[in-house]
C-alpha cells in the first residue's frame, strides 16, 4: 500500500459509502406493501417510467466492458476494438424489431424471465430449462468481467497487498463484492436502479471532461490519431506482423473487416437475449416506455465511442503506454491514463465512477440469474407450490451463489483481454436466438428441433472457444476463429449452425406429426399494452399455468 494517493483514495471511499447507503435506502424507495414478491424484489414493482428505465438499461448495457475492456482492446489491437461501437449502433434497430413484442406478451402473462416465455410459448419444460441454464451460464463471465474491471482500478490505485495469496491480495475487491452482494439481497432491483443515477452522473462528468481536456495535454486529436496510426502499423518483433490495425483491413484471409462485422452483429443480437437486459425491459411500465427508450439509449453509445478513443489516448501518452507495458495488462490503460492526466481529486471521481459502473450491472445480472434459477429451475422442478415469499427468498440466496460463480470465472480464465469474457458469454446466449426471437414471431419451429439446434450450437461454440489459443494462453484465448477462410465471431457461426439444424428438424418433425405442445399465448398479446396490468396472482407466478 506504499504508493496510494490519499486524495484519490479518500474520494473513492467516500463515494463508495454514499452508494452503499443509497443501495440500502433503495429498499424504502417506492416501497410496496409486500416486498417478498418476485415482481417487487426482482422487477422493482414493474412500474418504471421512461426516465428510470433509461438509467436502468443504461446501467445494464454500459459496464466495465465499456470503460475497461473496450479501451483495452483498442489500446492493444487498434480499430478492431471499435466493433463495440458498430455493435451499439446496430443493437437498437435490431431490438426495435422484437423487444416491444416480448414486453407485451410478458406483461399479459406475468412472465418474469425469458425462460417463462419459452415455457408458455412452446409448452416445453425442457426447452425452458435449457434457456434458463444458458442464461445463468452466460451471465457468469459477464459478471466476472465487472470484477476484472474493479480489480484494474484498484490495482492502479495501489490498493491491495503484495501477498501471493489470491484472497489476501484481492481483499479490497472482495470487500466491494460483499457490499454489492448484501445490498442486492436486501433491496433487489431497486438498488441498482437508484444507484444508476449516481453512476451515470459521475460517468458523464468524467468522460466529457476527459474528451475535451486530455487531447489538449497530448497535442490534439491529430497527434493522437497520428501516433496511433504509426504505432499499429509498426511490426511486432515477436510475431513479425503489424501490432494492430488503424482501420479494419480487407485482406481475404484473416480479414479484420469480416471479424469486425461478425463481432458487431453477434454482440448486437446477443445483448437483449441476456436475462439482465430483459429484466431491465420488463421492469418498464408501458410498451411505449420500451420503444421510446430505444430512441434515447443511443446517447449512451456516443459515450461508448468516446470511451473507446481513450485507448488511443493511452497509446499516445508515453507515460501511460510505458506503465501498461511494464505490467503487461492492457486493462490498466484507462486507469493509468486518468491517473497520469488528471489531478488526484478528479482521478478519484473517475475511479469511483468506474467501480460503481461495474457494481450496478453486476447487481442487475445476479438478480436476473437468480430469477431464472428460482422460477425456471427451483419452482418448476423441485417445489411447484412455492409461495411468492419463498420464491423471493430463494432468489435472494441464488443471487449470492451466482456472484460466487462469477468470482471463479474472474480468477480462472485468462484475461489478457477481458473483453473475451463478454464475448464468451455472447457465444452461449446467442444460442437462444432461434427459440426466443423466432418464437416472438412464429410458432413454426418445433420445440424438439429448437432443443437439438440449441445443443449443437452450445457444443460447437464451447469447443471452438476452448480451442482458440494464443502466445499468452493455451485455451479460451479469443472469441473468433477461422471459418471458410474468414475470421468470424464463434457465437455467430454457432448460431447459424443452430438455426440450420432447427429448420431441418422442424420440417422432419412436422412431417412426422410429432406433438408440438400447447401455446398459451395468442397473436394479439404480442402487441398488447394493458393500461392496468392484472395483478399477478400466486397462481400466475411460478405455478403451472
Amino acid at each position: 500500500m506504499s504508493n496510494v494517493n490519499a486524495t484519490t483514495f479518500t474520494i473513492v471511499v467516500v463515494l463508495f459509502l454514499v452508494v452503499t447507503g443509497a443501495g440500502f435506502a433503495a429498499a424504502r424507495w417506492r416501497r410496496p406493501p409486500n416486498m417478498m414478491h418476485l415482481d417487487e424484489w426482482g422487477l422493482g414493482g414493474r412500474g418504471f417510467g421512461v426516465f428510470i428505465t433509461w438509467f436502468l438499461l443504461g446501467g445494464d448495457l454500459y459496464t466495465a466492458y465499456t470503460f475497461i475492456a473496450v479501451p483495452a482492446l483498442v489500446f492493444g489491437s487498434g480499430s478492431i476494438g471499435f466493433y463495440a461501437v458498430a455493435y451499439t449502433i446496430m443493437v437498437f434497430p435490431i431490438v426495435f424489431i422484437f423487444l416491444p413484442r416480448l414486453w407485451s406478451v410478458s406483461r399479459v402473462h406475468g412472465y418474469v424471465t425469458p425462460a417463462d416465455f419459452i415455457r408458455g410459448r412452446y409448452g416445453s419444460r425442457g426447452l425452458a430449462l435449457a434457456s434458463a441454464f444458458t442464461g445463468i451460464l452466460a451471465l457468469m463471465p459477464y459478471i466476472a468481467l465487472q470484477l476484472v474491471g474493479i480489480q484494474a482500478v484498484l490495482t492502479v490505485m495501489g490498493v491491495g497487498t503484495s501477498s501471493t495469496n489470491t484472497f489476501v491480495k484481492d481483499l479490497p475487491l472482495f470487500i466491494a463484492f460483499l457490499v454489492l452482494a448484501i445490498f442486492t439481497y436486501v433491496s433487489g432491483l431497486r438498488a441498482p436502479a437508484l444507484i444508476a443515477f449516481i453512476k451515470d452522473t459521475l460517468i458523464y462528468l468524467f468522460v466529457i471532461v476527459a474528451v475535451f481536456y486530455i487531447p489538449t495535454r497530448l497535442g490534439g486529436w491529430s497527434h493522437i490519431f497520428g501516433v496511433a496510426q504509426a504505432h499499429f502499423a509498426s511490426i511486432s518483433p515477436a510475431t513479425k506482423k503489424p501490432l494492430g490495425t488503424f482501420v479494419p483491413t480487407s485482406k481475404s484471409i484473416g480479414s479484420t473487416q469480416f471479424d469486425f462485422a461478425s463481432l458487431a452483429l453477434g454482440s448486437a443480437v446477443a445483448l437483449f437475449l441476456y436475462p439482465h437486459a430483459i429484466t431491465g425491459t420488463l421492469a418498464a411500465k408501458r410498451r411505449s416506455t420500451v420503444q421510446r427508450n430505444l430512441i434515447y439509449l443511443p446517447l449512451y453509445s456516443v459515450l461508448l465511442a468516446l470511451i473507446a478513443l481513450f485507448g488511443y489516448m493511452a497509446v499516445a501518452d508515453p507515460t501511460t503506454a510505458a506503465n501498461v507495458k511494464k505490467t503487461g495488462n492492457p486493462q490498466l490503460a484507462v486507469p493509468y491514463l486518468f491517473q497520469h492526466m488528471f489531478p488526484s481529486w478528479f482521478t478519484g471521481i473517475a475511479f469511483a465512477g468506474i467501480i460503481i459502473g461495474a457494481l450496478v450491472p453486476a447487481a442487475i445480472m445476479s438478480i436476473a440469474a437468480a430469477n431464472l434459477f428460482t422460477r425456471n429451475i427451483f419452482t418448476e422442478f423441485f417445489k411447484p407450490d412455492a409461495s411468492p415469499a419463498l420464491q423471493t427468498q430463494m432468489s435472494q440466496w441464488a443471487s449470492l451463489v451466482v456472484k460466487l460463480g462469477a468470482l471463479l470465472f474472474a480468477v480462472e480464465l485468462p484475461h489478457t483481454f477481458s473483453i473475451n469474457l463478454q464475448l464468451l458469454g455472447g457465444v452461449w446466449i446467442l444460442q437462444l436466438a432461434p427459440m426466443l426471437i423466432g418464437g416472438l414471431f412464429t410458432r413454426w419451429f418445433h420445440r424438439w428441433a429448437l432443443l437439438a439446434g440449441w445443443l449443437a450450437g452450445m457444443a460447437f461454440g464451447t469447443i471452438a472457444a476452448y480451442n482458440v489459443s494464443s502466445a499468452a494462453a493455451s485455451h479460451w484465448a479469443a472469441s473468433s476463429d477461422i471459418e471458410f477462410g474468414h475470421s468470424v465471431y464463434i457465437g455467430l457461426s454457432a448460431v447459424v449452425l443452430n438455426l440450420v439444424i432447427a429448420v431441418v428438424l422442424t420440417v422432419i418433425l412436422r412431417a412426422a406429426r410429432v406433438p408440438e405442445g400447447t401455446d398459451e399465448t395468442s397473436p394479439e398479446q404480442y402487441t398488447a399494452d394493458p393500461e392496468q396490468a392484472p395483478a399477478p396472482t400466486p397462481a400466475a407466478v411460478g405455478a403451472a399455468p
Binding site: V85, A86, P93, I295, L299
Partner: protein, 85 residues
C-alpha cells in the same frame, strides 16, 4: 398456429403498404450501414482531425436515434389496433 400469428399482421401491412415499407427500410438501412464495413473502413475524407472511419461511427449514433424516432412515429400511424411488428 402459424396462420393465426401471421394473419392480423399481414392485413395491417396490406392496408398500409407505404408506411410498412417505410418502417422496414428505416430499420434495414440502419443495420446495413453499420454492418457493411467496406463502406466506412477507410481514412478519408477526414472531418477535422478525425479519420473517416471514426467520425462516421460517431455521427451514426444520432442518426440511429432519429431513424428509430421516425420508425416509431410511422408505427403509431399504422394504428394501435393492428399488429405492428
Amino acid at each position: 398456429m402459424t396462420q393465426a400469428t401471421s394473419i392480423p399482421r399481414r392485413s395491417v401491412i396490406a392496408a398500409h403498404p407505404l408506411l410498412s415499407a417505410g418502417i422496414a427500410i428505416l430499420i434495414a438501412a440502419d443495420i446495413f450501414f453499420a454492418l457493411y464495413t467496406p463502406i466506412y473502413s477507410r481514412l478519408t475524407p477526414k472531418l477535422g482531425d478525425f479519420p473517416f472511419f471514426y467520425w462516421y461511427l460517431l455521427i451514426f449514433m444520432p442518426v440511429t436515434s432519429v431513424a428509430l424516432w421516425l420508425a416509431m412515429l410511422l408505427q403509431r400511424r399504422l394504428g394501435e389496433s393492428g399488429g405492428t411488428r
